[in-house]
């Protein structure tokens, strides 16, 4: 079904902000996901699929449908056939538009019910995405009732299924990655706020960059195996950096001055709630860890502020200035 290895993450030309945002969520899953909005054919899906291959593997109980790390975490409704711990790739699960609620949250396993008369639970996409990524292409076209569902689960990290006589719950901690094209519809503010970072991508304007994109993609399409082999080193290096950054994350300090800066930025931008500050700080800390620093500094803040804040601005639906510009202006004012 799949191509022999997806397009290598590190071979993606440009789109640095998108790549950085994804790397940051890989370092700290608590940042809360990435929203990638922009033109068609800019490598949004490619980056997500590449990310899957890039991420370090996770240890999980082999027979567990929700990728539990320890046998004690396996939900009680699971009959474990295989309690060994295995390494498997970080799950990156696609949530297709038009997926039914049953497929998303899970439902009565109708096959078992019909053939064996057993009342068993068939886990849905949320179960498979636990401890990994949930990817929604064209997230802005997602039906409202699925959005509501996702908001609930993403908030609590717990999927509760109460239907058809089932009463089931399981952990559902995942990083949401959404992509979409803003021309086809806007995203509900509630969902917008749920994404930790947001990135705007556009087709590269520079001719040489475009040529580079085409050249690499063509090389990959012609001979994916050797192309992937060529970039394996770069991907492995990035993976190593991510693993190191995860280890370092806990010891990265953020002093009071930095926290004050975060607050000042959010106050100046008038972003609702405190999610803005928290995400900004987390993202800056992850970036510091990634860059090998022990202290969060203003430079880190400056780099992550657009991604962390542009979708949290008090919405002025008639504003055309562009949220990136507004964020950058305030960043310059506050941080000097």
């Amino acid at each position: 079904m799949k191509r022999p290895g997806s397009f290598p993450f590190s071979a993606i030309v440009g789109q640095d902000e998108m790549k950085r945002a994804m790397v940051l969520t890989a370092i700290d899953g608590g940042i809360g996901g990435v929203l990638v909005f922009g033109d068609r054919g800019t490598g949004k899906s490619t980056a997500v699929r590449g990310l899957a291959a890039l991420l370090p593997e996770i240890d999980a109980v082999a027979g567990c449908p929700v990728n539990s790390e320890f046998v004690s975490d396996v939900p009680d409704w699971v009959t474990l056939l295989d309690a060994n711990t295995v390494s498997k790739p970080t799950p990156v699960i696609d949530l297709p538009l038009g997926a039914t609620e049953d497929r998303v949250v899970g439902a009565l396993d109708i096959e078992k019910a019909l053939t064996k008369g057993e009342k068993a639970f068939e886990p849905g996409l949320l179960a498979r995405a636990n401890r990994g990524y949930l990817y929604i292409d064209e997230v802005n076209l997602l039906e409202d009732h699925i959005v509501d569902l996702l908001l609930d689960v993403a908030q609590s990290g717990l999927n509760v299924v109460e239907r058809e006589g089932l009463s089931i719950r399981h952990a559902a901690n995942f990083v949401l990655v959404g992509s979409g094209n803003p021309e086809e519809g806007e995203l509900r503010p509630q969902l917008l706020d749920r994404f930790g970072l947001s990135v705007e991508v556009e087709s590269p304007k520079d001719l040489d960059v475009r040529i580079d994109v085409i050249r690499r993609r063509d090389a990959y399409d012609r001979d994916a195996l050797s192309f992937c082999a060529e970039w394996e080193g770069a991907d492995a290096e990035l993976r190593g950096q991510i693993v190191d950054a995860r280890k370092r994350l806990g010891s990265v300090e953020a002093d009071d001055a930095i926290i004050r800066d975060c607050a000042a930025l959010c106050v100046a931008l008038g972003s609702d709630g405190l999610r803005g500050e928290l995400t900004l700080l987390r993202a800056a800390r992850a970036l510091a860890a990634f860059e090998g620093d022990d202290q969060v500094n203003r430079d880190h803040l400056r780099k992550v502020a657009p991604s962390a804040l542009r979708h949290r601005l008090r919405r002025d639906p008639l504003d055309e200035a562009g949220s990136t510009t507004r964020v950058m202006r305030v960043v310059d004012e506050v941080l000097g």
Binding site: K2, E138, E183, R210, R217, D218, E320
Partner: protein, 564 residues
């Protein structure tokens, strides 16, 4: 060769290229209604694809049909688990008729399938009649070749011809076709200068050029191949007319010094000659660009609004509302059985019931297991603003009307309403914006709305009524807000005839009432216009004279009158 003949020749080449390498091209999008010309295309396609099976899929295909799933009937009959094979699991090329009706969910899934499976290709037959009805852009972006057969004369459409042996040979030769670095650069720069933004297009053009070179028996992509690729891939996607060479020079990087490629370029051109092919390609593209490109682009832009597609109610999913969990109930009275839910309910009891009855050959379903479908009706509201932009109105109130509409837009945003904009002035009316939720677009259209000319009130109402019909077809609830000073002086035919004009307007108002479209008439005249309240009565709509109203109070009034 006439233009039509030349175009048909390209169609023939396009199908041949596609048959050579369906996977790399991703597919073909064909616009045109069902008819002999399209039949010839389909016949040709089958002929060219030869053994590759074509699978017809429907724009309303379910997940089960696409991906396969539990075969309920067979499972019940045999008592063992039977799975069906999904259409996406099969080898071959998908053929999608009525592609303009594909709802976004299916479109996204097909796009994902095309991305995931390198051997899958799709031929979309787009039968849209209106400019707004077309294949979703996310899908058409993945199909390399875009053909428009909608006005192709049958007399210039002979049966497509393919030489099976030549195709087979070309298929073998294809993997070894080389592309010079210059050719690649040319394609990318031509795409950029035609305003083709998606980076998929140059890759697709490359695939077309390669296939074309293989067909002509060449070893390397040459100029005619590039020309074909530009015609089939870039021209239909163009969003701007390429500027002339002199201006272009500034943003095109100077051609790199000739380098010795590993490819067997025997005729490495000198730097001057190197620049020429791009110009040739652009000239060809310029010649092929439709004269009404700009108008088409506007239509395409408008089409990007969420509801601008021909898929009807299915697309917004409003007519049937949001599905609620199935509930125990009796059949009859229009209730529809939710078969799956019923079986789910019955399933856990099967063992017991089998033991009780001793009959284990069938599924035991009891009346208490029956589950019926329920939907929550929640139709989206679409407010159609009909704005009088005539001279008399423009002087006085157009700016205020614009202000009011803008304020309402901000509120509509919060309520997830759709808004549409119709303006009338001069001799007729324009739909400035089909129903959309995109505020930025609406604001842009509104601010560029000029004023002046006569007051073709009837034409404005007619356009609003047509739009209301369209909106209904999409499962939304339309309402009309008419902002005018009521001095109708241009009749439906566009002639300046005051008496006929007001007669026509009255007729249209009655028609609107008969259609049952709720509305509101706002008198933007400096003092209330006699007769406009009568018109409002004919429309069955409240009449609001707002002699000194500012944007704020106008907005409040409209909101109050239109809120159900």
């Amino acid at each position: 060769m006439s233009v039509a003949e030349a175009r048909w020749h390209s169609v023939n080449l396009a199908v041949a290229c596609f048959a050579l390498d369906p996977a790399a091209l991703g597919g073909i999008s064909v616009r045109g209604r069902v008819g002999p010309v399209r039949e010839r295309f389909e016949t040709g396609l089958r002929l060219a694809l030869a053994e590759t099976p074509l699978h017809r899929i429907a724009p309303t295909m379910s997940d089960e049909a696409l991906y396969g799933g539990l075969d309920l009937a067979a499972t019940l009959e045999t008592g063992t688990l039977c799975q069906t094979q999904g259409i996406l699991d099969r080898e071959g090329v998908l053929l999608l008729p009525m592609a303009e009706r594909v709802e976004p969910g299916l479109s996204a899934r097909l796009a994902a399938a095309l991305d995931a499976r390198p051997d899958l290709a799709l031929v979309a037959l787009d039968e849209g009649a209106e400019p707004g009805e077309r294949l979703p852009a996310s899908l058409s972006d993945r199909l390399a070749i875009h053909l428009d057969l909608s006005d192709h004369p049958l007399s210039y459409a002979p049966a497509l011809e393919f030489d099976a042996d030549a195709l087979a040979e070309a298929r073998i030769a294809l993997p070894s076709i080389t592309v010079s670095d210059d050719a690649l650069k040319e394609l990318v720069s031509v795409a950029a200068r035609l305003g083709v933004h998606s980076l998929r297009a140059p890759l697709q053009a490359l695939a077309v050029a390669r296939a074309s070179a293989a067909l002509s028996g060449a070893e390397e992509v040459e100029e005619p191949d590039l020309l074909l690729a530009v015609e089939l891939v870039f021209v239909p996607r163009a969003t701007q007319i390429p500027e002339q060479h002199e201006e272009a020079e500034q943003d095109t990087p100077p051609p790199p010094p000739p380098q010795n490629d590993s490819t067997d370029d025997s005729d490495q051109p000198d730097p001057v000659k190197e620049d020429i092919p791009t110009e040739i390609l652009l000239d060809a593209a310029r010649a092929m660009l439709p004269p009404d490109l700009l108008a088409r682009m506007a239509a395409a832009k408008a089409n990007r609004a969420p509801a601008g597609n021909g898929s009807g109610a299915k697309r917004t999913g409003n007519r049937r509302g949001r599905p609620l969990p199935a509930r125990h109930g009796r059949l009859g009275g229009g209730a529809r059985l939710d078969l799956v839910a019923t079986l789910r309910t019955a399933a856990p009891w099967q063992t017991i019931r089998r033991n009780l009855t001793g009959d284990d050959t069938r599924i035991h379903v009891r009346p208490s297991d029956l589950r019926i479908r329920r939907y929550q009706e929640a139709s989206d509201r679409a407010i159609i603003f009909v704005v009088d932009a005539s001279g008399s109105s423009a002087m006085a109130r157009l700016a205020e009307a614009k202000g009011a509409v803008e304020l309402l837009l901000a509120e509509a945003y919060a309520r997830r309403d759709h808004v549409a904009l119709v303006a009338f002035r001069g001799e007729g009316s324009d739909v400035l914006l089909p129903p959309t939720r995109s505020l930025v677009q609406t604001k842009r259209r509104l601010s560029s709305l000029p004023g002046g000319g006569g007051t073709p009130l009837a034409a404005g109402l007619k356009a609003a009524m047509e739009l209301a019909g369209l909106v209904r077809g999409k499962g939304m609830t339309p309402s009309i807000a008419l902002l005018t000073d009521g001095r109708a002086n241009v009749d439906l035919s566009g002639a300046a005839n005051r008496a006929q004009a007001s007669e026509d307007a009255t007729q249209m108002a009655r028609a609107l009432r008969a259609e049952g479209v709720p509305g509101l008439v706002i008198d933007t005249g400096l003092r209330p216009t006699r007769g406009l309240d009568g018109l409002a009565r004919e429309m069955g709509a409240p009449y609001l004279p707002l002699p000194r109203a500012d944007g704020q109070s106008l907005s409040r009034a409209v909101d109050a009158a239109l809120t159900p």
